[in-house]
């Protein structure tokens, strides 16, 4: 069918696009308007006359530091999760050891427990380890991932047995096999997961709020909330500018890894 001749499909697409873009556009134009006007309810869809002054204001404050903290946390969570899940999935997929199925099911069961359920015990453990109010405390408890482990297990199980055996005949030991064969073959999946996990880490809110009370460890997400919380004198254009800045790193990651990301989610061929 000629796509030009399908106005309904286009209308739906347009509506969807507007629904997704409108809030972003508001944030973007809001950051260029006068904070007093916004506070009075005058947020308009047209860029204001303040230009990028709000950005200058926030970039001279604690925002760069918050961005850095968020970036560090998101990277640590994404890389840590991939590291741990690749190793555990490798063990589950390729080795026979006692209680292998038990280990698999234990990991599987933790999928059913959301972070909130175990947040108090986790806090207590972190407290015992003396990691409250440290950067390590921000990311360490978040790097175990049942989802990623299961995903990698599926990817690894799909690697043909003959490939495993050929590597054994070629003399590759387990770690060498992991590094030379398994990781390159699963590269697209790893990249896809990296994007998802990076955004997951970047958007963490509850855990950083609990574990770090020191303002020097505020992530960008918490920073935005704190700026809004002071009800009477909220600098709305600064909030919008900060939100825009907070959007950028995930966008960069997605754009840079888009090719891999799509391949990893769609291609099944091994």
């Amino acid at each position: 069918m000629n796509p030009r001749r399908d106005p309904v499909a286009h209308a739906v697409l347009l509506l969807g696009a507007i629904l997704f873009v409108a809030p972003l556009w508001l944030v973007l134009v809001g950051s260029t308007q006068n904070p007093a006007v916004i506070a009075a309810g005058g947020l308009s869809f047209i860029p204001g006359d303040e230009g990028f002054s709000a950005y200058a204001r926030v970039l001279n404050g604690p925002v760069p530091r918050m961005l850095l903290i968020s970036l560090g946390m998101a990277l640590a969570i994404a890389i840590g999760k991939i590291f741990i899940s690749v190793l555990s999935a490798f063990a589950i997929a390729f080795f026979r050891f006692p209680c292998r199925q038990v280990a698999f099911w234990l990991i599987f069961i933790t999928l059913m427990l959301p972070v909130e359920v175990r947040i108090i015990p986790t806090y207590s453990v972190m407290s015992d380890l003396g990691l409250i109010n440290t950067f390590t405390g921000l990311w360490l408890p978040l790097i175990a991932s049942a989802t990623a482990t299961l995903l990698f297990r599926q990817v690894f199980v799909a690697i043909p047995d003959e490939l495993v055996e050929a590597a054994r005949m070629d003399g590759a030991g387990p770690l060498r096999f992991l590094w030379d064969i398994v990781l390159p073959v699963s590269a697209a999946n790893i990249a896809a997961l990296f994007v998802i996990l990076f955004i997951y880490g970047w958007n963490q809110y509850l855990w950083p709020l609990l574990v770090a009370t020191n303002p020097r460890l505020d992530t960008i997400v918490i920073g935005i909330v704190k700026m809004v919380a002071v009800e009477t004198e909220t600098d709305w254009s600064a909030v919008m500018a900060t939100a825009t800045l907070a959007l950028l790193p995930p966008v960069v990651v997605v754009v840079l890894m888009q090719r891999w990301f799509v391949a990893g989610l769609t291609e099944g061929e091994k």
């Binding site: 003959e162 055996e165 050929a166 054994r168 005949m169 070629d170 003399g171 064969i181 073959v185 590269a187």
Partner: protein
């Protein structure tokens, strides 16, 4: 001199015996083909030699060294897999070089060996390609190359031609044989295809339900099959089997269908009336107006010859297949005779050949 020796090799998975008591010895440079229907244990046998499967009991000796419990990489054996098992992210060169790199060979040594093997296999132009950019036949050759560069004591082939189309299979079959002769490398070759078995092997091992049914040269297996299973498995179309009894003091067989066949190679043991199975290959049955009549139910012209399927009109109505030179015969009934010099005599109970 024996390069590979298998002594009392057995394998069972739980209560199921997959392989029972395999004894085998391969001379240097010999190509032994293990053939059998799927599930007969032939792949398990190969995988045990490779070290990918642990035998339940028995020993494997390679060049006098006991390798039964050695790691696959330490065995000095290379294997060509059915699906080639090429590393998809590596170039042809890297695929062939990978095993050598792990063994710590020098860069120049690796390049020289890979180049030699590539030249031998006509892969020199393709060294920079990835497996997905190759045709099935080329992938197969890369898999061979990966084995050749290792310069192993023993080659293992696990149905390496089964993923190729018919034309390519015939060509590659001849190529493998030529290469194996030229390199003089001792080989074990597993297949379910009896044509591959006949053409490639110096000797055949026919496996049936985990047991060796016959170990002999291809022609001997064809001309003197050890039992009805081997007789039916090797040769296409399969051998015809007719029920009969021993008679005339062991010097002849009386077919249930009527005719009396005098043995030309001596008498068989046993009392008259012993139940026999007479085997006759489709190409050996002759058309003769004095023979028993056969009702034709299917004619398959193959061009140079014709396959005729039918049933004997005589008691038992045994099914027969004939292979006749030339065109299909006219009519619905054919008279056929069974030349005594071409018959195979088996015991009806055990299926074993009566010599």
């Amino acid at each position: 001199m024996a390069i590979l020796e298998l002594a009392g090799l057995r394998k069972s998975f739980g209560a199921v015996d997959v392989l029972r008591e395999i004894n085998l010895s391969l001379a240097s440079g010999e190509m032994l083909v293990i053939v059998g229907a799927s599930g007969c244990g032939k792949s398990t046998l190969l995988r045990m030699v490779a070290g990918l499967e642990t035998p339940s009991s028995g020993r494997i000796l390679l060049d006098g060294r006991d390798i039964t419990s050695e790691d696959p990489s330490a065995r000095d054996i290379a294997m060509v897999f059915q699906n080639y098992a090429l590393y998809p992210h590596m170039t042809v060169f890297d695929n062939m070089a990978y095993g050598l790199r792990i063994r710590g060979l020098s860069r120049e040594d690796i390049a020289r060996r890979v180049d030699e093997a590539a030249a031998l296999l006509g892969l020199s132009e393709l060294l920079g390609r990835k497996p997905r950019q190759l045709s099935g036949g080329q992938r197969q050759r890369v898999a061979m190359g990966r084995a050749i560069v290792r310069d192993p004591k023993l080659f293992l082939f696990d149905e390496p031609l089964s993923n190729l189309d018919a034309t390519l299979r015939v060509r590659t079959r001849a190529e493998i044989r030529r290469l194996q002769r030229r390199l003089g490398v001792t080989s074990l070759y597993v297949t379910h295809d009896q044509v591959e078995a006949m053409t490639l092997g110096d000797r055949l091992l026919v496996l049936h339900q985990g047991q060796p049914a016959q170990l002999a040269t291809p022609m001997e297996v064809f001309e003197r099959p050890a039992d009805t299973y081997v007789a039916g498995f090797i040769g296409a179309p399969a051998m015809n089997f007719l029920p009969a009894i021993l008679t005339e003091a062991g010097t002849a067989a009386r077919l249930e269908a009527g005719p009396l066949l005098h043995f030309i190679d001596g008498r068989r043991d046993g009392p008259d009336g012993r139940a026999l199975t007479i085997g006759l290959r489709p190409e050996h049955i002759r058309v003769d107006p004095n023979g028993v009549s056969l009702r034709i139910d299917l004619v398959e012209p193959l061009g140079s010859e014709t396959l005729v399927h039918g049933r004997l009109a005589a008691p038992g109505e045994a099914a027969l297949v004939l292979r006749l030179a030339g065109k299909a015969p006219e009519g619905e009934v054919l008279n056929v005779v069974f030349p005594p010099e071409e018959i195979h005599v088996f015991d009806a109970g055990t299926g074993r050949r009566l010599p």
